[in-house]
């Protein structure tokens, strides 16, 4: 009787709630060390699933991978996760990432369409390619926020775009967490939201500039 909906009552009750306005918070609700201690209560299977989800969605840690390698890695991870709810969350995130990447590419290289391989994680690949000239790829009825993202890319307001995307993802996670309070799904959503807060709080202008220079140097060296 200790499974299913109430499996992680103690774990979830031991975690402080997230703030409603995460962009205004200066620290995550719980430290990384404390969070890891609590996550040690997960069953081995769930801990492995959480690791797989993190390895797919924390793409800042897989920056060295090529698109093809990342896709292979993501598809292999998804196949091993036996939970439709979590798969849907992962696919939504990958889909959002793909759409934003396609819109960025269109903004910078309007004549060069993205490859089918890059669109492999979205079921709207054909719509994107067919409607490449449209600002919203003809997807605004399915994704009402797509025009806002396009406007921010056109204005090259990248900080505002980052905030918009984080808020969008935050709201999506909040919607998905409805009905999941003490189960594994609740734990996963909590950790993903924690990551958003943590990522936002780690934004640092100087570090970003340094990283940008490093990436540029690497690209130049590769090109030479």
């Amino acid at each position: 009787m200790n499974g299913g909906k109430n499996r992680y009552v103690m774990l979830m009750a031991s975690l402080p709630p997230h703030s409603a306005d995460f962009l205004a918070t200066r620290y995550p609700p719980v430290s990384a060390i404390q969070l890891q201690k609590r996550l040690a209560w997960l069953s081995p299977e769930h801990a492995a699933d959480l690791n797989r989800i993190q390895s797919i969605l924390y793409w800042s840690e897989s920056v060295e991978e090529t698109d093809a390698e990342f896709l292979q890695h993501a598809q292999a991870g998804l196949q091993q996760i036996d939970n439709c709810y979590l798969k849907a969350i992962i696919l939504w995130r990958l889909q959002l990432r793909t759409l934003v990447a396609a819109m960025r590419q269109k903004h910078h290289q309007p004549q060069q369409q993205v490859s089918m391989q890059m669109l492999a994680m979205t079921p709207f690949a054909r719509d994107i390619l067919r409607n490449w000239q449209l600002p919203d790829f003809g997807l605004r009825y399915r994704f009402p926020w797509i025009n806002d993202i396009d406007a921010l890319i056109q204005q090259e307001s990248y900080l505002a775009l980052e905030k918009y995307l984080l808020k969008l993802i935050w709201r999506y996670y909040a919607q998905q967490s409805q009905g999941h309070y003490f189960d594994f799904e609740a734990v996963v959503v909590y950790v993903l939201r924690w990551d958003l807060v943590n990522r936002w709080n780690q934004q640092h202008g100087q570090t970003a500039r340094q990283r940008f220079v490093e990436i540029m140097q690497r690209q130049v060296e590769e090109a030479v």
């Binding site: 009787m1 200790n2 909906k5 109430n6 009552v9 103690m10 774990l11 979830m12 009750a13 031991s14 975690l15 402080p16 709630p17 609590r38 309070y181 003490f182």
Partner: protein
């Protein structure tokens, strides 16, 4: 043989409110208790009341015991069906209310540890669930008054 089965069902019905109430209270208190233990790790004060709330689902087993004693009489084929029906259905109602009350209490504990000022309001849903258990208890007592006393 038929009489034996009917009497057996009667005895099952007699013990059902207590047994099912105990199962429900066990699950409910365990769920809420785990939430209370988790909340202790994330709160500095108010530990006593958090643990106290986790005991709310224990009332169902007490109602079950009272119903069991109210139904208790010499069981024969005349009164066994009534004892079975009232005992089983009231027991199920108590068990389910205890399980769900445990979930309400776990949510209340989880919310109140982060926002102590909502403690009172947060246990209202658990109190409402308790109300349904009380209905099942009271009307089991009322209806059981009509069951014929068996010859000893």
């Amino acid at each position: 043989m038929v009489d034996f089965i009917i009497v057996l069902l009667g005895w099952s019905g007699l013990y059902a409110p207590m047994a099912l109430g105990a199962i429900g209270s066990t699950i409910g208190c365990a769920t809420a208790g785990q939430a209370a233990i988790g909340a202790l790790l994330d709160s500095e004060t108010g530990h006593g009341r958090l643990v106290g709330v986790s005991a709310m689902p224990s009332s169902q087993v007490i109602y079950g015991i009272v119903i069991m004693f109210t139904l208790q009489r010499a069981i024969n084929p005349d009164n066994a069906p009534a004892i079975f029906a009232i005992g089983l259905l009231s027991g199920l109602a108590l068990m389910i209310s205890a399980i769900y009350q445990g979930r309400c209490c776990a949510s209340a504990i989880s919310a109140a540890k982060a926002k102590p000022e909502i403690f009172g309001v947060s246990i209202a849903p658990a109190a409402i669930v308790e109300g349904f258990a009380v209905f099942a208890f009271i009307f089991a007592l009322v209806v059981s008054a009509g069951i014929p006393q068996g010859a000893v």
